[in-house]
């Protein structure tokens, strides 16, 4: 199996506080991998280092075998690394279509053009509409994000990331804040994501994690505690103690 994304000895410290400590991680091509851990485990910091939003203190990151540790965010995206945000990061006053079209235009290299109207780029519009249709958002194409229900906003997050045609997709709590009725819709969307995309999902909803992931990494205080298939993780005593135990007693 090819390695889509790999980190070696990844560390991040803010002064005396170490938030990521010697993280060795592998994401295989087409994998469905989950990263879990209690609050403050360093999951989002890890994702931010992967995307280039945060520079690691030491260690390396490789995407498709290429060292991207020193690469800027934009270049990582161009090489196939997409992400969604834990808290919606959308263009709130723009319609849904434009939110997705911005990503599609960027990927197609259209976004820097000045002389032709954006709406005249039928290829961008059509691809964006197709994407929205596959996520069940076609009817909302003209609705501003401000006027869109929260659950659908989470789907727009995913649509924007998919507009980049990533080979690796990092989903930071895609169902965060979504009522349970609507989270099934998100799970359905996740289940139907193209199989060639390697997906790393960070999620607190254990039902979603265990239904979706083929492999799980547990992060605690910035360190990898254990990694393995869901059944192993579910029966691991250390995981119960630091994380799932809290869930079982709840």
């Amino acid at each position: 199996m090819n390695i889509a994304l790999e980190t070696c000895g990844l560390c991040k410290s803010f002064g005396a506080l170490t938030v990521a400590d010697d993280i060795d991680f592998r994401l295989e091509s087409g994998a469905r991998h989950a990263l879990i851990g209690p609050n403050g485990a360093g999951k989002t910091t890890f994702v931010n280092m992967l995307t280039g939003a945060l520079a690691p203190s030491s260690g390396t990151i490789a995407l498709g075998g290429e060292d991207i540790t020193a690469m800027g965010q934009a270049k990582r995206v161009k090489r196939g690394l997409g992400r969604t945000f834990q808290i919606n990061a959308l263009f709130r006053r723009l319609p849904v279509l434009d939110n997705v079209a911005l990503a599609v235009a960027e990927r197609r290299g259209v976004a820097r053009r000045m002389l032709r109207a954006a709406s005249a780029h039928d290829d961008v519009r059509e691809e964006s509409m197709e994407l929205l249709a596959t996520l069940g958002l076609a009817e909302d194409a003209g609705v501003r994000i401000l006027d869109l229900p929260y659950g659908k906003q989470r789907l727009v997050e995913i649509a924007i990331a998919l507009g980049l045609k990533p080979s690796v997709l990092l989903l930071d709590e895609p169902a965060a804040g979504v009522p349970s009725l609507e989270s099934h819709r998100i799970l359905r969307v996740l289940d139907n994501l193209p199989k060639h995309i390697a997906i790393l999902i960070i999620e607190h909803d254990m039902d979603l994690v265990f239904r979706f992931a083929q492999r799980i990494t547990v992060l605690v205080q910035g360190e990898v505690l254990v990694e393995g298939p869901p059944e192993e993780i579910a029966s691991d005593r250390r995981v119960h103690q630091v994380y799932l135990g809290e869930q079982h007693h709840a």
Partner: protein, 325 residues
């Protein structure tokens, strides 16, 4: 004349109401011949405000130093005319544009790495430094006395700048038409949409692989170029350049004009200077000592009751009228 946001869902065709400013401008040429000098000044300030709207309204770059580019354009055109003997208005204007562009890319590349108050202070610092350079370089700029002796040859060798300001008015109107067309085209383009994206959420723009910094540098340079042209025009129409073109007051005044008209709307840059400069002209005649009070009151009212400027008020009235059964 509602907000022009561009985008992949927007209709880029020119609406009939967008011809209104041009009809008014042409009508003013025939109906108000005694006010053509003021008219030319208004047209120049519209172009200047349009350049500011591009960065403030569409790209979300805050600045208090746009007069740096306007002033440089003004001095470059003036020095060429008064010191280098270059009388051709097109050459002067091209040099003013190039100077604005060069300063725009040079300063933009540095200051756009910063944000918020730091950025605001840096923009102010740039124009203050240029003001002081212009003040000290008396041999070239005339210093505090200003640069006089600006000679502008007839446009294309045919149209001489007359004392009634007819040629200057039409010349400025054509320059504005070209500037407006370029800005409008840009706003409706994918580039313009990506600028709106940066203004709305730069975090997400980074995450979709947009080279945010370079986009900002580019739009800043384009804006500085247009401001340079506006500066060149003010020199050509006044045939004089004073230090005030670099002043903080000039940059602040421009921002006030844009806020009055409505930021991020294209036509806010048309309405603001018209209202501001006409009010300034009328109030200064009636109340020579207190005319700023009137301008200040107007601005306070707009900021308190109409965040979208005068066009914002018109927009909300139109929305209410449409909702009525």
């Amino acid at each position: 004349m509602s907000a022009h946001a561009g985008g992949y869902s927007a209709d880029p065709r020119i609406r009939w109401i967008e011809s209104l400013p041009w009809i008014v401008a042409i009508a003013a040429f025939f109906a108000l011949p005694e006010y053509l000098s003021l008219g030319a000044r208004i047209l120049i300030y519209i172009l200047y405000a349009l350049s500011l709207d591009l960065i403030v309204g569409y790209a979300g770059i805050i600045t208090l130093g746009h007069s740096a580019y306007f002033g440089l354009g003004a001095y470059v055109a003036g020095i060429l005319a008064a010191k280098a003997g270059v009388g051709d208005p097109m050459v002067q204007l091209a040099a003013a544009a190039a100077a604005g562009a060069l300063l725009g890319i040079g300063t933009g590349a540095i200051i756009l790495r910063t944000k918020a108050l730091t950025l605001l202070m840096l923009t102010l610092a740039i124009t203050s430094v240029l003001l002081e350079i212009a003040n000290k370089a008396t041999a070239l700029t005339g210093g505090a006395d200003g640069l006089s002796g600006v000679v502008v040859a007839p446009i294309f060798g045919l149209f001489r700048f007359d004392i009634f300001g007819k040629t200057a008015y039409l010349y400025c109107l054509l320059a504005l038409l070209l500037g407006w067309w370029l800005v409008r085209k840009m706003i409706y383009s994918p580039f313009g949409t990506s600028l709106t994206g940066v203004r709305e959420n730069s975090l997400r723009m980074h995450a979709i692989g947009a080279p945010v910094y370079w986009r900002l540098v580019l739009v800043y340079t384009l804006s500085a170029t247009i401001a340079g042209v506006a500066g060149g025009l003010i020199t050509q129409t006044n045939q004089f350049v004073g230090l005030n073109v670099f002043s903080f007051e000039s940059a602040g005044e421009l921002l006030v004009m844009l806020i009055l008209g409505g930021v991020g709307r294209i036509y806010g840059a048309f309405v603001g200077p018209v209202v501001y400069l006409i009010a300034q002209d009328l109030l200064a005649k009636q109340f020579p000592e207190y005319w700023y009070f009137g301008i200040g009151t107007m601005l306070v009212l707009v900021v308190m009751f109409a965040r979208g400027g005068i066009l914002g008020i018109l927009d909300s009235i139109l929305v209410k009228l449409r909702r009525r059964p």
